[in-house]
């Protein structure tokens, strides 16, 4: 009697040109167990041995990631831009320039910047949930179009039709900005399906929060991604709270990497407070995705602000929040650059001033951009402009 040992990383990952066709599992141990259910070879036990790679902070330098000094400066600058943008957005929300929900990305900037530095922006695809401002800015969307969208103005990336939760940029291949938790993850898998079908070499980074792990859509999408060998990285941006519910209160298994075992997918744990760690993880798993091997990343991060603007944050202590702020990705990046003499204090100050001005300009742009015309309410619903709406 043999013990069945399955290793999550062990399966061959040859690229398939077979479109969406299911892969042939000629050596599937699952199949064997079923077929031999009443025979002598029925296993006495099943042992699952899986190794998850990890990507801790402060392990990777920019040279080994192939990032230029310029890119490093861009990463710092963009993280700062995201933070100042979000802080200003919070202020504008207080002034009622922004309505609805506003979910800020403060604290999580390293995730978006590390990801953007690891892919071919404009060729690879990205989709995320409603906390989407940071990724939009990291992909190169302008602060102007982002702020104007929050203001509900025609100059916004979605012409004021989407708002905070629904940033889209076809040019940057940001496929949203999605408001229903987990519902966009099958879409991300479908975007990857189309990359493979068209054989254009693209991959899709599919971000979702820890809260989404509880959704059935993730289960279905993960299985389809692995079954069809799609060029996708499923990325859990684990900021440790689904609104006010900590992962310990929501999940029987809080090591989300373990999820991947059920889908026969590799997984890795990434410290999301260092953009280089994120970048390295996405470079490695992006390469696998391009070879037809989807994977799951759990990126641990932390949001400094509440879930949304109305959140009193009674579910966590001030001490916890402060200790996380000591692990700040922007400060880490600044220290990294100073240590290596990549930049001096004067340059930092110049960047700070530039970023501050860029965000102030974005507010002015958003303020000055017109509201959508009332008749625009009927635009962009159907392809044809003469659809017979009911009045």
């Amino acid at each position: 009697m043999a013990n069945e040992t399955r290793k999550s990383h062990a399966k061959g990952a040859a690229a398939s040109t077979n479109g969406g066709a299911p892969k042939k599992r000629t050596t599937s141990s699952k199949e064997k167990i079923i077929l031999d259910a009443s025979s002598d070879s029925f296993p006495e036990s099943i042992e699952v041995a899986v190794k998850f790679e990890t990507y801790p902070v402060d392990r990777y330098g920019h040279e080994e990631l192939g990032l230029s000094g310029e890119t490093v400066e861009w990463m710092y600058r963009n993280m700062l831009l995201q933070r100042r943008f979000e802080e200003r957005a919070a202020q504008m929300y207080g002034k009622q320039k922004i309505g609805g929900f506003l979910h800020l990305y403060v604290g999580q900037e390293a995730v978006s910047v590390g990801a953007a530095a690891a892919i071919n922006v404009g060729e690879d695809s990205v989709i995320t949930a409603y906390r989407d401002h940071g990724l939009g800015l990291a992909l190169g969307m302008s602060a102007d179009e982002c702020m104007a969208e929050l203001f509900g103005k025609v100059g916004g990336c979605s012409k004021g039709k989407g708002g905070s939760m629904h940033f889209f940029s076809k040019k940057r291949r940001l496929f949203g900005g999605h408001g229903i938790v987990g519902a966009h993850v099958p879409i991300g898998v479908g975007i990857a399906f189309a990359h493979k079908y068209k054989e254009d070499g693209g991959i899709c980074l599919t971000f979702f929060g820890d809260g989404a792990v509880g959704q059935g859509a993730i289960h279905e999408a993960s299985n389809l991604a692995s079954l069809y060998e799609l060029p996708v990285i499923l990325i859990i941006e684990n900021n440790q709270y689904a609104m006010g519910t900590s992962i310990e209160r929501a999940f029987a298994e809080t090591q989300f990497t373990h999820q991947a075992v059920g889908y026969d997918m590799p997984a890795a744990l990434v410290d999301g407070m260092d953009p280089f760690s994120v970048c390295k993880a996405i470079q490695d798993h992006g390469k696998m995705a391009r070879e037809g091997k989807p994977s799951l990343l759990e990126i641990r991060t932390y949001r400094y602000r509440g879930h949304s603007m109305s959140d009193p944050q009674k579910y966590r202590t001030k001490e916890e929040l402060e200790s996380k702020k000591n692990d700040d990705p922007i400060l880490r990046m600044k220290a990294y650059m100073l240590e290596r003499d990549m930049i001096d204090d004067a340059k930092f100050e110049a960047i700070d001033a530039e970023v501050k001005q860029e965000v102030l300009d974005a507010v002015a742009f958003a303020d000055g951009s017109p509201e959508p015309a009332l008749e625009d309410i009927y635009d962009d619903i159907y392809e044809e402009s003469d659809y017979p709406y009911l009045f």
Binding site: N18, G19, G20, A21, P22, S125, I127, G156, C157, S158, K159, G160, K161, G162, H166, F168, S169, K170, F175, G176, G177, H178, G179, I180, A183, H184, V185, P186, I187, G188, V189, G190, I191, A192, F193, A194, H195, Y197, K198, C204, G216, A217, H219, E220, A221, N223, L224, L227, Y228, D379, D380, I381, Y382, E383, Y387, P388, Y389, L390
Partner: protein, 327 residues
């Protein structure tokens, strides 16, 4: 004109369109190796191969969403639901994603996708497997809903649906798949979406009926003809957008209307058509509009209850006589 079964007409539409456009693929449960749960896609795997005719696990939410993503990224998916009863576990993908992403993205992303499969009652399958979904999906701006009643319309409308740049819900019927009918041989046979068909002309009463109910309407019209009443039968064919103009024009002639609809009555297609008629043709009506629908209950299993549940030909016939004050 070739005589085709309803399922063959659908297959012909998909096959012709897939030959035309490589971006089109068919995905769903049992569509490939099993040749379709209702044999609609029979032979298509052999013809197009596994890249374009793709079996899925039982994961409607997953593969409906996959289809939306593929459509956003330049493909033109045909997603088959084995029946539309199972679309409810994927309804979020249709309601929130297929219908709204074009709008929310300010028109940046379009979603040319067809969700198709059988809809409505199909015999003694009890409550979960007999749902008529047209009024549910027709509430959604951003979606089109088509419900053909015969093989010819099925082919022409499905080809149009596949070419449409919007998400389309295409509603078929298990109990009509074997129905035979003449289908146009025209090289590129497209029926415009949003145009009703006047199936039979008459000036005494207008009967509006789509999908399977259309056949009840024809039988009722025959019975009335035997009594020298001329019923005009209108098959809307497309539910959203609804060709209300054709219906209103007919009522201006007949001044009476009976609607047959196998959905449950509350907030249904028949409610909507009735509202739109009173809005546009109130002064032309000589009798209240009457609708014959399924009972306002879950669908029962027992044969007698099931028959009682469905809109009946006798009820429709009597309704027509009533609005004509023939009794």
């Amino acid at each position: 004109m070739a005589v085709l079964q309803f399922r063959e007409a659908i297959r012909a539409a998909m096959t012709e369109e897939m030959e035309r456009d490589e971006r089109i693929f068919l995905m769903g449960e049992e569509v490939a190796e099993y040749n379709g749960a209702y044999k609609v896609s029979e032979g298509m795997l052999a013809k197009f191969g596994p890249k374009r005719v793709i079996d899925t696990p039982i994961s409607e939410n997953g593969f409906a969403g996959l289809g939306v993503g593929a459509a956003m990224n330049g493909l033109r998916p045909i997603i088959e639901f084995m029946t539309f009863n199972f679309s409810f576990v994927a309804i979020d993908q249709i309601v929130n994603n297929a219908a709204k992403i074009r709008y929310m993205s300010g028109g940046q992303y379009k979603i040319p996708i067809v969700f198709r499969g059988p809809n409505g009652a199909a015999g003694q399958l009890a409550a979960t497997h007999n749902t008529s979904t047209e009024s549910i999906y027709a509430t959604l701006p951003g979606i089109k809903v088509i419900s053909p009643s015969n093989p010819d319309d099925a082919k022409g409308l499905l080809k149009s649906a596949i070419r449409d740049e919007n998400p389309v819900i295409f509603l078929e019927s298990e109990s009509m798949y074997a129905m035979k009918g003449e289908v146009s041989d025209e090289e590129d046979y497209l029926i415009p979406i949003g145009k009703a068909r006047i199936a039979r002309e008459g000036d005494d009463v207008t009967i509006v009926a789509h999908g399977k109910s259309y056949w009840i309407a024809l039988r009722v019209a025959d019975r009335l003809a035997a009594e020298s009443f001329n019923a005009e039968v209108i098959d809307p064919r497309t539910i959203r957008p609804l060709d209300i103009d054709t219906i209103v024009e007919s009522i201006k002639k007949t001044n009476r209307c009976v609607i047959i609809d196998e959905s449950t009555p509350f907030a249904s297609i028949s409610s909507e058509i009735t509202y739109q008629i009173q809005e546009r043709a109130f002064d032309w009506l000589d009798a209240p509009i009457v609708r014959i629908t399924a009972k306002d209950t879950p669908t029962p299993y027992a044969r007698n209850l099931m028959e009682h549940y469905m809109p009946g030909e006798d009820d429709a016939y009597e309704a027509c006589r009533r609005v004509m004050y023939a009794d």
